[in-house]
Symmetry: C2
Subunit: 442 residues, 2 copies
C-alpha cells in the first residue's frame, strides 16, 4: 500500500453547523425531520468516498428553539434508514451510556451493523447536561460517576456482542441444529451499575464490534478513550493544541496494551468554502449577519455556566470560574480562544456560531486542503471531522472541490477498499472473547 | 363509502411462523438477519395493499436456539430500514414498557413516524418472562405492576408527542423565529414510576400519535387495551371464543369515553395455502415432519410453566395448574384446546408449532377467504393478523391468491386510500392535548 491515508467523517448536523444556517437561502429548514434530506447528505458523502457520516445527539430540547432549528430525529433510527440507500459509508450514531441500558444498546447497534452489512459505529457519550437528567427522573450523576458507569457499560455491551461466537450458527436443516449452543454464552455480569444475564438475542454483528467512537476531552474522558475508543472526535483551535492533544492521547494507549495506531484522532473543522478567497469571505459574512446576538449569548452562557445576558456585547469576555460537572474541556477551549485573540463578547459569539468551538477555516479548496494536510502531516490528526456550515451545499462543496484536491495530493482514497466501517478506517475486526475458551484437546 | 372494510396486518416472524419453517426448502434461514429478506416481505405486503406489517419482540434469547432460527433484528431499527422502500404500508414495532424509559420510546416512534411519513405503530407489551428481567438486573415485576407502569408510561409518551403543538414550527427565516415557544410545552410529569420534564426534542409526529397497538388478554390487559389501544392482536381458536372476546373488549371502551369503532380487533390466523385442498395438506404435513418433538415439549413447558419433558408424547396432556405472573390467557387457550379436541402431547405440539396458539387454517384460497369472511361478518373480527407459516412464500401466496378473493367479494381495498397508517385503519389523528390550553380572549 501507498502512503498513510487521511480519514474523513462528515458530521451531519441538521441543516448545517452554523447556528444561523437554517436562515440561509441555501438551507431548507424542513430538512431536519425529512429523511430525504439525510439520504441526500449520505449519498453526497459516499460520492466523496468519505469514511463515515456521524449524527450527534442529546436527550433534551436544549438550546433555544425560538431561534434555532431543533427537534430533529433520533440517530439510530435515522441511520437505519440511511443504510439502505448507501453501500460503503460508515454510519455513526451517538448514544448515551448514562440514560440507557447496555442490553438495548448492544442490540440496536448489532441490528444496525447487520442491516448495513458492517457499517455501524457508536459515538459514546455520557450526557453532561442537567436538562437530560430531568427527562429521566434522576439527578445528573457527577462527571467521574458518569465515566465509571460508561466503562462498565462498555464492558457489558462488548461482551454481549461477543456472546455469539462467529461460528455459532450452523443452520443445518437436515439435522435440525440451527445453532451450536456451546458457542452462545451467558455473561452473568454482576457489577456496580449493571446485572446482565445474556446472551444477546441478536447474533454477532458483522464487524464483531461496531466501531467505538468517543469525544471526551477531560482526564476521565481521555483515559476512557485510550482504553475503549477506536476513533476520537475533538475540538482543537490551533496546530499546537492539536499536536499536544494528539500526542497526549496516543501516549495513553500503551497502558491498556494498545498500539498508537489502534485509535484515530479526528479534530473538527468547519470549512467555509468559496471558489475564491473573496467568495468564501462573502459566505462567512452572510452567515454572520444572520446570527441573533441574544441567542449566541444564551448559548455561550450555557457553555460557561454563567449568565452573560447583561454583559455589553462589545466588551471583552469577563473572567469566569470553571463549573464542576459540565463539559470541562469546552469551557477551557472557549475561554482560551477569547483570551488568545482578545475577542469581545460579540466576536466570540460569531466565532462559536460557526463551529461551536471547532476550528473554522474560510477559503478556497486549496487553502482548506493545505490546512488539512498541515495538521495531518505534523502530528495533529489522523483525519478530520468535517462540519459544513450549511447542509447540503457545504458538504457538496467539500466533496466536489476539497476531496479532489486531497486525492490529487495522494492523501485520500479515490475508491473504497472494503465494505465495512472498520475497513474504511483500517481497523481490525475483534474476535469474540469467548473464542479463547474453546476446549483444547488434553 | 361502500361496505365495512377488512383490515389486514402481516405479522413478519423471521422466516415463518411455523416453528420448523427454517428447515423447509422454501425458507432461507440466513434471512433472519438480512434486511433484504424483510424488505422483500414489506414489498409483498404492500403489493397486496395490506394495512401494515408487524414485528414482535422480546428482550432475551428465549426458546431453544439449538433448534430454532433465533437471534434476529431489533424491530424499530429494522422498520426504519423498511420505511425507505415502501410508501403506504404501516410499520408496527413491539417495544416493552417494563424495561424502557418513556422519553426514549416517544422519541424513537416520533422519529420512525417522521421517517415513514406517518406510518409508525407501537405494539405495547409488558414483557412477561423472567428471562427478560435478568437482562436488566431486576426481578420481574408482578403482572398488575407491569400494567400499572404501562399505563403511566402511555400517559407520558402521548404527552411527549403532544408537547410540540401542530403549529409550533414557524420557520420564519426573515425574523429568525424558528418556533413559537408558547406552543412547545414542558410536561413536568411526576408519577409513581416516572418523573419527566419534557418537552420532547423531536417535533410532533405526522400522525400526532403513532398508532397504538396491544395484545393483552388478561383482565388488566383488556382494560389497558380498552383505554389506550387502537388495534388489538389476539389469539382465538373458535368463532365463539372470537365473538366473546370481541364483544367483551368492545363493551369496555365506553368506560373510557371511547366509541366501539375506535379500536379494531385483529385475531391471528396462520393460513396454510394450497391451490387444492390436497396441496395445502401436503404443505402442512411437510412442516409437521420437520418438527423436533423435544423442542416442542420444551416450548409447551414454557407456556404452561411446568416441565413436560418426561411425559409420554402419545398420552393426553396432564392436568396442570395455572402459574401466577406469566401470560395467563395463553395458558388457558392451550389447555382449552387440548381438552376440547382431546389432543395427545404430540398432537398438541403439532398444533402449536403452526401458530403458537393462533388458529391455523389449511386449505385453498377460497376456504381461507370463507373463514376470514365468516369471522368478519359475525362479530368476531375487524380484520386479521396474518401469520404465514413460511416466509416469504406464505405471504406471497396470501397476497396473490387470498387477497384477490377478498377483493372480489368487496371485503378488501384494491388501492390505498391515504398515506398514513391511521388512514389505512380508518382511525382519526389525535389533536395535541395542549391545543386546548390556547389563551381565549376574555
Ligand atoms: C465533535 C464532538 C461531538 C460531540 N457529540 C456529542 C453528542 O452528540 N452528544 C453529547 O452528549 N456530547 C457530545 N460531545 C461531547 C463529548 O462527548 C464530551 O462530553 C465533551 O467533549 C466533554 O468532554 P468530557 O466528557 O471528557 O468532559 C461531542 C464532542 C465533540 C468534540
Ligand atoms: C399476536 C400477538 C403478538 C404478541 N407479540 C408480543 C411480543 O412481540 N412481545 C411480547 O413480549 N409479548 C407479545 N405478545 C403477548 C401480549 O403482549 C400479552 O402479554 C399476552 O397476550 C398475555 O396477555 P396479558 O399480558 O394480558 O397477560 C403477543 C400476543 C399476541 C396475541
Amino acid at each position: 500500500m501507498a502512503a498513510r491515508q487521511l480519514h474523513l467523517n462528515a458530521f451531519l448536523m441538521g441543516v448545517g453547523h452554523h447556528e444561523a444556517a437554517w436562515r440561509h437561502p441555501r438551507a431548507e429548514p424542513a430538512g431536519i425531520t425529512d429523511v430525504r434530506h439525510y439520504q441526500r447528505l449520505a449519498e453526497i458523502a459516499e460520492r466523496g468516498k468519505l469514511d463515515s457520516v456521524f449524527l450527534a445527539d442529546g436527550l433534551a430540547l436544549w438550546g433555544n428553539v425560538r431561534h434555532n432549528a431543533l427537534g430533529g430525529l433520533e440517530p439510530l433510527t435515522l441511520l437505519a434508514a440511511l443504510a439502505t440507500v448507501t453501500e460503503h459509508i460508515g454510519l455513526i450514531a451517538t448514544v448515551s451510556t448514562t440514560y440507557n441500558e447496555p442490553f438495548h444498546v448492544a442490540r440496536k447497534f448489532a441490528s444496525l451493523d447487520h442491516i448495513s452489512g458492517g457499517r455501524a459505529g457508536w459515538n459514546i457519550v455520557t450526557s453532561a447536561s442537567e436538562a437530560e437528567a430531568r427527562n429521566f427522573g434522576v439527578e445528573r450523576p457527577a462527571h467521574k460517576e458518569r465515566y465509571d458507569r460508561a466503562a462498565e457499560f462498555l464492558q457489558v455491551v462488548t461482551e454481549l456482542w461477543d456472546s455469539w461466537e462467529d461460528g455459532a450458527i450452523l443452520g443445518d436443516r437436515r439435522s435440525g441444529d440451527y445453532a451450536d449452543t456451546a458457542r452462545i454464552h451467558a455473561l452473568d455480569h454482576v457489577g456496580r451499575h449493571f446485572r446482565v444475564r445474556g446472551p444477546l438475542n441478536t447474533s454477532r454483528p458483522p464487524q464483531g464490534h461496531p466501531l467505538l467512537v468517543q469525544a471526551g476531552s477531560s482526564e476521565d474522558g481521555k483515559e476512557f478513550a485510550a482504553r475503549y475508543a477506536e476513533a476520537v472526535f475533538t475540538a482543537q483551535q490551533t496546530l499546537q493544541e492539536g499536536q499536544e492533544f494528539y500526542s497526549d492521547l496516543k501516549s495513553r494507549l500503551g497502558r491498556y496494551g494498545r498500539r498508537a495506531d489502534e485509535l484515530l484522532i479526528l479534530p473538527g473543522i468547519s470549512p467555509i468554502i468559496g471558489s475564491t478567497e473573496r467568495e468564501a469571505l462573502q459566505l462567512e459574512r452572510e452567515l454572520e449577519e444572520l446570527i441573533i446576538p441574544a441567542y449566541g449569548v444564551q448559548q455561550l452562557s450555557g457553555i460557561l455556566g454563567v449568565d452573560l445576558s447583561d454583559h455589553p456585547l462589545d466588551s471583552p469576555l469577563p473572567e469566569v470560574a470553571q463549573p464542576a460537572d459540565g463539559q470541562q474541556s469546552r469551557f477551557k477551549l472557549v475561554t482560551d480562544l477569547a483570551r488568545r485573540e482578545r475577542l469581545t463578547l460579540r466576536e466570540l459569539i460569531g466565532r462559536l456560531a460557526g463551529g461551536r468551538g471547532h476550528r473554522v477555516v474560510t477559503g478556497t479548496p486549496e487553502r482548506i486542503a493545505d490546512q488539512i494536510q498541515e495538521w495531518f502531516t505534523s502530528g495533529a490528526a489522523d483525519g478530520f471531522n468535517i462540519m459544513p456550515p450549511v447542509l447540503p451545499s457545504g458538504l457538496a462543496d467539500f466533496v466536489d472541490h476539497v476531496v479532489p484536491e486531497l486525492q490529487a495530493r495522494g492523501l485520500f482514497r479515490t475508491e473504497y477498499g472494503g465494505r465495512t466501517l472498520r475497513q474504511n478506517y483500517g481497523l481490525a475486526r475483534p474476535a469474540s472473547r469467548f473464542e479463547q475458551k474453546a476446549p483444547v484437546a488434553s
